[in-house]
Symmetry: C2
Subunit: 229 residues, 2 copies
């Protein structure tokens, strides 16, 4: 198969990001090669499923041996488009936004916040994660000036749609939304929703149904891989 042509299923893409994280850890600890079984164990997935996921990138292992850790890591990074740093802007620097801006994990995984924005005069000018918080009026200039294509929304729900509109108008093509509202964006703009309350409520349901219905114990499989939203 041609490595780039076939559309990679979104569920596979999400797992590739997990494999990338695990491979990074293995590389740091000096491992040279790894089998699908071991990698699948560390990522919490089925070995056959992992091999099927990787098959979307074309053959990239050695039969009878396994996968080259650094080579596979680089290949996945290239497919995901995180082989070099990508510019992101973040709007809303309340508790959650500040936590995101200050989260070192992003920088080491190919994302750099090139602009932090808030509407509150009290927050404008503060330095968070090494960057100053700017006024919303500068959003357009920064997005066009840095060619940022990824935007993160961590505002209150009431203003999230308006921010989404401004981001897309400025040229942002991909949005990660933490506000608990369903955003509407123009065609061609991807929106991913992370709703923390939804996650907790799914847990609450599992919790409730485990106690209420004492049918056979829930599935014996242990790890959980990122789901929806």
């Amino acid at each position: 198969m041609n490595p780039s042509r076939p559309r990679i299923p979104e569920a596979t893409v999400a797992r590739l990001a997990v494999y990338l994280r695990v491979l990074g850890g293995l590389a740091d600890s000096g491992r040279a090669s790894v089998s699908s079984g071991e990698l699948a164990g560390a990522a919490g997935v089925n070995p056959a499923g992992l091999r099927k996921d990787l098959s979307h990138l074309g053959p990239c292992g050695v039969r009878g041996v396994g996968y080259d850790v650094a080579g596979l890591r680089d290949r996945i990074a290239r497919v995901l488009g995180v082989e070099r740093s990508r510019a992101c802007v973040l709007v809303g620097l309340g508790n959650l936004g500040s936590a995101l801006a200050d989260y070192a994990g992003f920088g080491s995984r190919g994302f750099e916040f090139v602009g932090l924005f808030d509407s509150s005069p009290q927050r404008i000018g503060q330095v968070i994660g090494g960057r100053p918080v700017l006024a919303l009026t500068e959003l357009d200039d920064v997005v066009t000036g840095t060619a940022a294509t990824i935007g993160v929304i961590a505002t209150p729900a009431e203003v999230a749609q308006e921010i989404c509109d401004r981001l897309t108008a400025a040229g942002v093509r991909s949005i990660l939304n933490f506000a608990p509202v369903t955003l509407t964006a123009p065609a061609g703009v991807d929106v991913r929703q992370v709703d923390l309350s939804v996650e907790l409520q799914v847990l609450a349901f599992l919790d409730t149904s485990r106690d209420a219905g004492r049918d056979t114990g829930s599935d014996a499989r242990v790890p959980a891989v990122g789901g929806m939203a």
Copy 2:
């Protein structure tokens, strides 16, 4: 139909939580009834899919009219098990953990943090979101004393597995993990993973493949995010 045990698909459960949020907003603005089309629009899903989701709760609409807003909201809340407040514990009060502890959205959606824990002496004793941060040594007593069954992990990756072990040993049955590691838990314990870097990397992939691949690729056909719509 039997209201308790007709095995609701997990994808449906996640959407029920979204409908619940939308219905809450509608109820607050005084709406008495709503059609599947309108509710689906506000939730960002397909109307037929929404009706199928609701069909798992048994008939709960009026044909030719729509759904009773407050009635449907209460019914979904009951099914999800959030009709009354549930006790949660939170471990790790760095930036993200503090944001979670201080997030008012949880309290209004049926979750109450009954214990905040950290290992750092500098954080122990601080009051965050109205609650004092406790030492990890008190974790077991608080979990058993409050009968908390839900735990949230917002620690660094290195200690997340150990915290997971302690939570499950203390009796926690459901875990929401923000640390970028795949946790292993005993059978019967549900773990949900929220990995912010994974979310961004999926966006990066969509972003990259939207523009014609510079690699070897040429085709840039990309599926839309989100399930139905």
